[in-house]
Symmetry: D2
């Protein structure tokens, strides 16, 4: 039996997910779509043989819809997720779960009240082969206890209307989640360093930034965020342990010897870099929904990431080291322990 | 509408394809299985919720079956493929298409007589990202005309009952097909060199072997075949053009700095190395069957590969350079031209 | 005519330099040695066919000695360098130039008073092929203006009696000098982060440490210092510019495919890693002394490095961001401009 | 005491060696030069403060000359080497030792008659760090017995007046020597394959060529020779053993991420690629001459390389597999055993 999915938001990433569910994921199909850009949503509904709905609420409450994917404008995420909880439907919500920690908190409270794990947040890096290998190496004990992580997150050029705050809230939030998942512990402080800005960024944008995080056990993390690096989309991550290090490989592209250099391509965009992670994320989400046991990143993970990103933003604004007050995890999310969930 | 697939042969690779069709490929399901090992086939039928049939013929002619996958014992391939043609059903046949060139020829004649392209041969490397990138580089003209290819095909250890002839007919046949596809031309001569054999091979096995091929335009290819290399499964391919070279990357595994070395894992088996190629092969085959336009490797490709492998075997036995008499391609297979089909 | 060199200090590095001058460097020979470990110094004098002197002062003032190499205990450096200035003899002093900024200042004042550039400090990384290539890439403008540097300085295990402060003053001081040379500008602030310490360090040692530096134009640098990393001696340096990045290669060691991994050796020690840099440093120093025009790192470079290391140490002790008050460069050292000197 | 060297031949490579002896090698100086291009030789004599002689014979027999370097036109090598034997002087002769096996044989006979090892042939690859590491790995037994070698020897463009025969006699001769040294055994057959020629070579030149060699124990070697590869100077060598492989690294140049690719430079010329090997070759030769015990490649090595290159040439001309009749090694050269000499 195929899982019938409704997709709210048919912009670039929403349409990509519709294509993915239709062509790549076994056992699922898109039956309903909605977007504020009605014309485009209708075109996509037709192309993918699904039904256009006027509102996201209609998608969520439709009897034809078993589960929901939210890929709409960030400020609408919280509302739609809460609506899914009301309808008691599984939902995969693109990051961020909400644009404020307060809203994230409300969502977790509603999920607890409903008594069922319904929410998965779109932190797809947990499904990337490289990050999974790193986690496996850490857990094997081969490199000893992790002491430091050095991370790089570079975009060739930013999306339209990119702001200094978005570099953390929409981009580095991926590192915030995946590192916490790799280490199995929460953060306790944040600091942001602002290097000389590139002249190739739009005026007013602070780019690059360096985010410094400290975990509760004292592991130190530095994340370079650089959204105008010009040369490609480049994500790097090295974990330094007591006895050795492990790091993400570059994607495997052919090696060329030509014109005096040995080279390989660096992808221009995140969609190429993480295409397999997205595919696996959706395949596993569909299967886990069918088995009624989610194991991807939870609402709690979305909440904690939001709290951390907020602290980083404050640290940047104040130019100081900011302690992170992590909310106490309710028992409902206890299966969040390392190894229990993904 | 899901494509209903019957699978003949439920050994290791057959079962893997059943899992793939069920869990990974969108829009298809396994409805029928058959194998001479009845007990195992029944177990698999139950596990994957499909029906066990006593014979392959029954699978092929079942009204419940839209298309067939053949993964049975090599000597049975030709018979089942011919039966699929009789039933006018699409078939994906694992390599080799047949164990003799004569049988391959019969298959192409039957397909021509039936007037419809029904057959795809399981040369999955054409779906591997690395080989596709190499083909794209060649066709871009960046490295000029190809002049030489240096290829490596190493297995950690061979399967049971491996023989000297199987190194070519079951293993190097992948290179035979994929190089011909990369270059868009056929071979005209073959030679086989037998180096000192490893003491770690079973007695009587000539291992390694070096296969030398020449294309009709004069491109020279060397393929090292080494089925007892001990350290892992390793496939390499470098195309040397007039202006530069392009080569397969190693699979992207994490980089470790530990105990005095910088290292990354080499996969132990072909199933890890080419898992994505198999997935894509099946996804695209299912889609192309639904659209009734195959574009993967054809019966003609299977025939030509068999003729070439036979010539290599004779070259090895005779210790001489053997000219390859390529059959003339019927008009029916004319869309085989470079770029027309995959 | 061979340059006659006196060497003060015949410990590990001193003896290595004696071997280097004797066997590797053209146009120079060691004629005089001295050390507080008299027995060992006498043995070395005999082995290398040179003369043992009771004191460093005797070496410096000997008529047989044209130029001096100082490789003695750090606290003696300043005294011997000043003595060389008195004797008006060229001197290559191992880093650090002195153990206090005050002493460094005295040395530069004495050198200015004597009116002749006599002093070179042993910052051999400026002679390393990789760093020279990085400098050349920066100056080519290919990667745009540098914005950030990410550096790693790891030792397998520390030398005996290693202390937290030595990680900066004796080890990271190499980065302090070479980065300033790469960028052609001085620092303006320092911060030190102390991650969770490895359990494999001696008790009381803070290891690893992360040193954060800011240049006057706003370039931000992070240097990981880890003296107990266990796996080898590893120096990395990546410069991130507005349009691209450039980084040091690992040393070229053979690639092995063995036991499931593709690997290459990481050197265990700095002496292997930088052996060629030391060789070139000495060759070029000997030639520049003969031509009476030094172009390696000057007393001023040694002074500035010491001031910066002191600031880092204070930053670590205070746990704060410390502004670096750089002394004003006297006109005498004006040829220190980027490109004028090495 | 400095070794006083006479250099015969002051073309590109001769002048480079003069610079090397003067500036890089400790304990030696050039005191005499000679060349048929008198004007250039005089200029060089003046620049390097040495004496110009009308003839090579005068250089060899001069009382001012302790040892001789021959870098003149290939056909003159044999004569000058024989003259050095007459004068009982040590000589480092650039490869080839002679242009015919007959002349090589005469040289070995003369050296035996004189009773003293005087001759070293300029096969500098034996001094390359990468090849030395490969030899060390083979001898460690880590990869088991060697079974195959895959070698690449590519030049960006050939020197002037390059011919098909020179690709083997002047270029692949380096592989012929170094592989024999790596394996510690001689060859027994040769074959040459001529792929489609590049259109970027001068008319009439067969380029690339593939040389196939077989050692007496059955190890098989393929060497791609490609003198017009356009992209750079590229030497590769992989030894495949029973349990693993070892291969030369590319030279360590900085890694750049720029304009969509990760790249590093491949040197344009052999002089950059092997500069350190040449330096070490000369340093060690000077030291071994001073100690009167040569351990670099001997006249016998030069003879055997010539015999092998001749067989390859015949194999190419005849298009057949040619057995190599190796002369029996006289007892005088018995210290040629693996490990005894370099």
């Amino acid at each position: 039996m195929e899982l019938r999915i409704g997709v709210i938001g048919t912009g670039a990433i929403g349409e990509d997910h519709i294509r993915r569910i239709t062509n790549v994921v076994a056992g699922a199909k898109v039956v309903a779509v909605s977007d504020i850009n009605v014309e485009n949503a209708k075109r996509i509904a037709e192309e993918y043989n699904s039904v256009f709905y006027e509102t996201g609420e209609q998608v969520i409450h439709s009897k034809e819809v078993d589960a929901v994917v939210i890929a709409s404008w960030d400020p609408t995420h919280a509302h739609f997720v809460l609506e899914c909880i009301k309808a008691s439907k599984y939902v995969l919500c693109e990051k961020p779960l909400a644009t404020s920690a307060e809203d994230c908190k409300k969502i977790t409270e509603a999920e607890i009240a409903c008594g069922k794990h319904l929410i998965q947040v779109g932190f797809m890096r947990r499904f990337d082969k490289g990050y999974k290998q790193i986690k496996s190496v850490i857990e094997s004990g081969k490199i000893g206890e992790p002491l430091m992580l050095h991370c790089i997150h570079r975009n060739r050029i930013p999306g339209p209307k990119h702001t200094t705050v978005m570099s953390i809230k929409n981009s580095v939030i991926h590192e915030i989640d995946v590192i916490r998942w790799l280490l199995g512990e929460d953060y306790k402080s944040a600091q942001v360093i602002i290097p000389k800005s590139t002249r190739l960024a739009e005026e007013g944008l602070k780019d690059p930034q360096i985010i410094l995080l400290e975990t509760q056990s004292g592991v130190r993390i530095d994340v370079e965020s650089f959204v105008n690096c010009q040369y490609g989309y480049d994500v790097q991550c090295e974990v330094v342990g007591e006895k050795g290090t492990v790091r993400l490989p570059d994607p495997a592209n052919v090696r060329m010897r030509l014109k005096g250099v040995n080279s390989y391509e660096i992808y221009p965009d995140w969609s190429d870099r993480f295409i397999e992670a997205y595919d696996i994320e959706f395949m596993q989400w569909v299967n886990s929904v069918k088995q009624e046991t989610l194991f991807g990143p939870s609402a709690w993970d979305g909440y904690v990431a939001c709290v951390t990103a907020d602290a980083c933003t404050r640290a940047r604004e104040e130019g100081s080291i900011v302690p992170i007050m992590m909310p106490k995890r309710p028992a409902f999310y206890d299966n969040e322990e390392r190894g229990k969930r993904l």
